[in-house]
Amino acid sequence: MFGYANPKRFMELSGRLLPWLGATTAILFAAGLYLSFTAPPDYRQGDTVRIMFIHVPAAWVAMMGYGFMALASLIGLVNRHPLADVAAKQAAPLGALFTALALITGSLWGRPMWGTYWQWDGRLTSFLLLLFLYLGYIALWNAIENEVRAAKAAAILALVGVVNLPIIEFSVQWWTTLHQGESIFRRGGPTISAVFLWPLFIMAAAYTLLFFTLLLVRMRTEILERRMRALALAANA
């Protein structure tokens, strides 16, 4: 069948791996949340420091997600492996979700300090632009009917985006120094005392595993849907 190559091996592998991945993610979340709420309040920020335990991991996965998407796009372009395109396509909505969570928790975290929900601070602004990059990628993919062409066009966009990310990051930081002084995030950031390191680290691990768990589930769904399309096409050809 000329149609979509059938990645049997991936389906078997991911089928066996998923239950373990899901269980580990759940355990990490349980441990992480427990530690987040039993950690002492920060001497300066008080209990708002607990928001850091869900803001920083979301921000990390948002950036890691885009990097993963760009890597999968590169592999998809270079050796035309359809599985890489599926991975990149399904990583985008997840990345966008975590970017949105990073923005929301970031704004809630800054609110007590700034007095407003939005502060044009370097880090938050960069995540806002990252969200636009994700949305542009998803929109481009859905706008092109031909699947193979959509995969390649989106791959090029992801690579252009990942090359531009550091430039955008730098220009936004440069721009914040232009308009107002330091902000809480960048004045060396809140020095993270040791007792906060554990909850932060475990929550980051939980978020990362969650990303890959959901990614595998969504990739399997995409593969099943592509097989359905191929069957339907073959049936009435």
Partner: protein
């Protein structure tokens, strides 16, 4: 090279003709700038402060107007196939299109900008900074815009998707461009113009190759 020149001359002629995109972009630029005082009031001091930023944002938006159909018109009427089969490489096609767009949109906007700066009461000292920053920055807009145009050429209503793809990538241009004008206003030297030039050079040098890759993929699927 002659082939590249031929395409460049043809596209400039097409854009300059009535109904061409050049006049449209200028009118849009003037309209947006004229609208701003109605929005934020005619207080001269406030306008002077935001003039650089408003002119830069309006210039970028006006540029986008003509960009999304840069390749699409040729794709739809069969010309792109003829260009692909000509001695011109895809890189050459992108260079010609990018340059034609800058000559018919980026450059005229830069020339018109001081006139509109009057409307916004831009202080006299900042005029050179405005023109120089636009002169250096608009090629980057044409370059990045042409890559996005090549990516979206097979989409019938790509026009709606186009700004979403391009604007995040253009933030550095707006930041450094408007930043250069503001720096001049405040009499401070923060290297904005050099950062803008660096970004522009990189964009202009890389865009033909990325644009060509996008054209190849859209033609060969």
């Amino acid at each position: 090279m002659r082939a590249l020149g031929a395409l460049l001359v043809r596209d400039v002629r097409l854009a300059a003709r009535a109904g061409g995109s050049a006049v449209l972009a200028l009118a849009f630029f003037a309209a947006v700038v004229t609208l701003v005082p109605f929005g934020i009031g005619s207080d001269a001091k406030l306008l002077a402060r935001v003039a650089g930023g408003v002119l830069w944002v309006a210039a970028v938006l006006a540029n986008l107007l003509a960009l999304d159909r840069l390749f699409q018109a040729d794709y739809e009427d069969g010309s792109l196939d003829l260009l692909a089969l000509s001695p011109l490489s895809f890189e050459g096609i992108t260079v010609a299109k990018m340059t034609a767009h800058w000559l018919t949109t980026g450059l005229p906007l830069t020339i018109l900008s001081p006139v509109l700066a009057l409307l916004l009461n831009l202080p006299a000292t900042a005029y050179t900074a405005l023109i120089v920053s636009l002169l250096i920055g608009t090629p980057a807009v044409s370059a990045i815009g042409s890559v996005a145009a090549a990516l979206t050429l097979s989409i019938r209503r790509g026009g709606l998707l186009f700004p979403l793809l391009v604007l995040p990538l253009l933030t550095p241009v707006v930041i450094f461009g408007a930043g250069a004008v503001l720096a001049r206003l405040d009499g401070v030297e923060n290297g904005a113009i050099w950062l803008l030039a660096a970004f522009s050079v990189a964009a202009v040098l890389l865009a033909p190759f990325v644009g060509a890759a996008a054209l190849r993929l859209n033609l060969s699927e």
